[in-house]
């Protein structure tokens, strides 16, 4: 691990964020408490309404009372509660440890909070949750599990992990993580990727995009630091990337428009690629309210009724 990386890891103040589980619960409570319903209607317990009969419908569901009273053929519908697996893929590369003066914490801490909150919501709704990583140290992959214990394990794993590793030229590591998620996520699963999408190797877009196929819902939440969003610097700058050897000497005022344009272009590229695979991209600022961030993700996933 490089010296700057160690310094940045110290900046990850879990004491300020902890207990993560309490904050995750608070965030989850602020979003919505309760289960989500499947959009599939058919065999089930709870009555879900009526519709006109069309040839081919199961005759067992014809509403006899409506037929006798009104003389029209109506079919009774029922809603079926289903469990949907939530697969969390968290970026723990070194760039996620970045924190500027404007941010309350590192990007990883914000991503971990969002992940824990999503986990809490999913577990509360009876869904199962899995956790995978790309990059990072002391990371623990968690197989699909449900219940309170799953939430505790996810929180523990998020707290244990440390942002590390230079993925700039390590596409196989990313592909391995994606493959693990693919194995865990079946049809109807929801995959949420929490990453800054920075310093990723060539082909990362394609690899992550594969998570949106075969009936899975893919949402990539791009977590950026406020300084990465606005580029608030002034005067001469000597910038150094956390992953790779990129160094740039520039003038803040002159570089700001070009940087912002490049950032926007990159986001558009990711969004287009994900959209083609049925996924979506959400931009998050680590200084923003995490409750709103989780709501954005849930809106994107379509998990709220």
């Amino acid at each position: 691990m490089t010296e700057p990386a160690r310094a940045l890891r110290k900046a990850l103040d879990w004491g300020k964020l902890a207990p993560l589980r309490l904050r995750a619960k608070t965030v989850a409570d602020g979003v919505y408490a309760g289960g989500h319903r499947s959009r599939r209607r058919g065999a089930g317990i709870e009555f879900g309404g009526q519709r006109s009969y069309v040839p081919g419908d199961d005759l067992r569901f014809i509403d006899r009372h409506a037929l006798l009273r009104h003389g029209t053929l109506l079919v009774r519908q029922f809603e079926t509660e289903t469990d949907r697996t939530l697969c969390l893929l968290v970026d723990a590369s070194l760039s996620m440890s970045y924190r500027s003066e404007q941010a309350p914490g590192p990007k990883y801490a914000y991503a971990a909070l969002i992940a824990a909150a999503l986990c809490k919501i999913a577990v509360g709704a009876g869904d199962r949750v899995s956790l995978d990583w790309f990059g990072g140290e002391r990371t623990v992959e968690l197989a699909t599990a449900g219940g309170r214990e799953a939430f505790e394990r996810v929180v523990g794993a998020l707290e244990t992990a440390q942002p590390s590793a230079d993925l700039k030229s390590d596409l196989p590591a990313l592909e391995r993580a994606v493959a693990r998620v693919e194995r865990r996520a079946g049809r109807g699963s929801t995959v949420v990727v929490l990453s800054d999408l920075l310093d990723l190797p060539e082909g990362a877009e394609a690899a992550i995009g594969t998570l949106g196929v075969r009936g899975k819902t893919l949402t990539v939440a791009r977590v950026l630091d406020p300084s990465e969003v606005t580029f608030p610097f002034t005067g001469p700058l000597h910038l150094r990337a956390l992953e790779g050897d990129t160094r740039v000497e520039t003038d803040a005022a002159a570089a700001r428009p070009q940087y912002l344009a490049a950032l926007e272009a990159e986001a558009s590229r990711w969004s287009a690629r994900l959209l083609s695979r049925g996924g979506s991209l959400i931009l998050l600022d680590s200084a923003d309210d995490p409750v709103k961030a989780v709501r954005k993700i849930l809106d994107s996933v379509g998990g709220l009724a």
């Binding site: 969003v229 608030p232 001469p236 700058l237 910038l239």
Partner: protein, 661 residues
């Protein structure tokens, strides 16, 4: 320079600190981690140039702030070009400011208008005064006046100074210096000075006797000679105009000419290329209303290049009724009275008459009637005379032996009531003390040889005042007011056959007094700025001058007696005087001495005082403190402004580029 001064000023070297910091900051860009560095374009050269430009203002402010603090530290030792009082052993000072408000101070000097420069210098001196210092303010325009008696109230001095205004008076610097010395003479201060804020265009100044306050001329540039020409008088004489012009030097007069304003047909009359006074003649254009003369070209004082034309009756009309056979000198020529008047008032219009006019209109255009040895006044003549006096004329009767030869029906009224006897016997001399108001000439009445005198008794005088007496107490000169005029009765004739009084200087002084009285009562249509106009106490007076109404006040007569009304025009120009609803125009001009008298050199002793005073230090701490505070506020404001601007720009950037956030 002491160690403290060096140390304080040494702080100024810290100015180099922000400069060095700026250079260091400019030379090296800050290195920082930034994950999306790959998205940032490189712009190395631009970065350094922009850093230099952006920080220059802050750098200048900080450097100035440090320099200001260094000077504040050394302030008690820092000298300033501002005038200040140099104190001997730090003691309080008593000084009299002699501010010259004469016409010549209105000239445009090397440092602005002289009078304004003098006031500025006075304010600077007042600013350096402290509690305990005594200040008197004396004005050197004629007559010298005390604007502020010596006081330790600095605020009162500032107020008095702010009330001063320029005028066209003559200069009376010697009297002003004397008045200034007197005003601070009785003060207990050890260090006393008379500060001359004047162009010194006056007679020679003495440095004063031992023990008197020394002179100090702190603004020598006021005495820089300037080129100037002025029209100091213009009067109509029939169809001609007599213009009186004064110039400081031949150079000032060269190429200049006088013309009648608005007279397109008349040609300008060029001045002779010489300094001093010259008289020019121009044709009068009767169609012009309120005509004025103008001097072309420019000089140091533009205000005196134009002068209103006085009416034809500007010259003082004097009627003289004297018997040529009795009252003439043995050498021949006109009577002594006429010769004396002509000597005293060259511009006076003398009108010798054989008999007193019976018609009051014949007194028109005359202000003074001198009647020598009258042999009685007929009722018709008396009526006309009374009418003349009541309208502001002055009549003087020199009584002689003929007072006893009045014909039937004629009397000496209105001068004397009843019969007057001629006392033809050896008479003692005049009471010199009773003539003291004539001035130094009063001493010339000693050892007079008089052949007789008119015996005036108090009961015959109609309540007239006795102004002078003989040694035995008999009235010699009486004055009686009648209407707006005055009647004087002298108990001696002007004929040298009846005594040698007409040959003494006191006689001329007495005649001069009568001329002055005539001028005062009649009011000369042309007078010099600063000269007082007097009016009868009962008259209703309203005066409009070039700058609005002129104040009229009451005052007592100099020789005692009842009060009168007086007004003093201090500015040149045309005045409209309304006396009991009768309007007349008067023209006030400048004294030619103001133009022709060149500034004298600053007395040597005054120059030495000046040098020592300039070495005095000035406490500039308050001003420098304000400057330092202003710089500090400017820096804070600039930083806040930049911060707000940057944050606003970033907010706009965030909204524009990431609307999804």
């Amino acid at each position: 320079m002491s160690f403290l001064v060096a140390a304080a000023l040494g702080v100024g070297l810290f100015v180099a600190i922000p400069i060095a910091a700026h250079l260091l900051r400019r030379g090296r860009a800050r290195e920082r981690d930034f994950p999306p560095t790959a998205l940032v374009p490189a712009a190395r050269s631009v970065a350094r140039e922009r850093a230099t430009l952006e920080d220059r203002l802050l750098l200048a402010i900080r450097a100035l702030l440090i320099a200001c603090l260094a000077v504040i530290g050394a302030t008690p030792f820092v000298q300033c070009s501002r005038l200040s009082l140099n104190r001997s052993a730090g003691a309080s000072v008593a000084f009299a400011l002699v501010v010259d408000d004469s016409h010549s101070m209105r000239a445009l000097g090397t440092d602005g208008v002289r009078f304004e420069r003098a006031l500025r210098a006075a304010r600077e001196l007042l600013a350096s005064a402290r509690e305990g210092d005594a200040i008197a303010i004396v004005l050197a325009g004629k007559p010298a006046r005390l604007a502020l008696a010596a006081t330790t109230d600095l605020n009162a001095a500032r107020r008095a100074l702010s009330d001063l205004g320029e005028s066209d008076r003559s200069t009376d610097l010697e009297a002003a210096v004397s008045l200034a010395r007197t005003s601070i003479a009785s003060l207990p201060h050890h260090d006393k000075r008379v500060v001359l804020l004047s162009d010194l265009a006056a007679g020679a100044l003495s440095d004063g006797a031992e023990g008197q306050a020394p002179l100090w001329a702190p603004v020598p540039e006021l005495a820089t000679p300037l080129e100037n020409c002025a029209i100091f008088g213009a009067e109509r004489r029939g169809r001609r105009i007599a213009a009186h012009v004064a110039c400081t030097s031949p150079a000032a007069a060269a190429g200049r000419a006088v013309s009648l304003v608005g007279d397109k047909s008349g040609k300008p009359v060029p001045l002779a290329s010489r300094g001093g006074i010259q008289e020019l003649g121009l044709d009068f254009e009767p169609k012009l209303e309120r005509p004025e003369l103008e001097l072309n070209g420019g000089d140091a004082l533009k205000g005196d290049d134009r002068c209103p034309l006085a009416a034809e009756s500007a010259a003082l009309g004097v009627m003289v009724a004297a018997d040529v056979s009795n009252a003439s000198a043995k050498t021949g020529g006109p009577p002594v009275l006429e010769q004396a008047v002509a000597a005293l008032e060259s511009s006076a219009a003398l009108h010798p008459i054989a008999l007193l006019p019976d018609d009051a209109n014949e007194y028109r255009n005359n202000a003074l009637l001198l009647l020598d040895d009258p042999g009685g006044i007929t009722p018709e003549a008396r009526s006309a005379l009374v009418s003349f006096v009541e309208r502001g004329g002055v009549a003087v009767a020199f009584l002689g032996p003929r007072v006893e030869q009045t014909p039937l029906g004629a009397t000496l009224e209105p001068f004397v009531h009843g019969a007057v006897h001629w006392e033809a016997k050896a008479i003692g001399e005049l009471n010199q003390a009773s003539l003291a108001w004539l001035g130094p000439e009063a001493s010339s009445v000693r050892d007079l040889k008089l052949a007789g005198r008119a015996g005036l008794s108090t009961s015959d005088l109609f309540g007239a005042r006795v102004l002078a007496t003989f040694a035995d107490g008999q009235p010699f000169l009486t004055e009686r007011e009648l209407g707006r005029g005055a009647l004087f009765t002298v108990a001696l004739p002007t004929s040298v056959e009846h005594g040698n009084f007409p040959l003494r200087p006191a006689f001329l002084a007495l005649l001069d007094h009568f001329l002055d009285e005539a001028r005062d009562h009649r009011g000369a249509t042309q007078s010099v700025a600063g000269g007082e106009w007097t009016f009868p106490l009962g008259a209703s007076i309203a005066i409009d001058g070039p700058r609005g109404p002129l104040a009229v006040h009451e005052r007592a007569r100099a020789a005692g007696g009842s009060a009168l009304k007086a007004a003093t025009p201090t500015l040149t120009g045309r005045y409209t005087v309304r006396i009991d609803d009768k309007a007349e125009e008067r023209v006030v001009t400048v004294d030619p001495g103001e133009i022709t008298t060149l500034p004298q050199k600053v007395p040597e002793s005054a120059a030495q005082k000046r040098a020592s005073a300039h070495a005095g230090s000035v406490d500039a701490s308050p001003e420098l403190g304000f400057v330092a505070l202003a710089l500090l506020a400017l820096e804070l404001g600039l930083r806040v402004f930049r911060r707000v601007t940057r944050e606003r720009a970033l907010s706009d950037t965030k909204t524009a580029h990431h609307p999804a956030l």
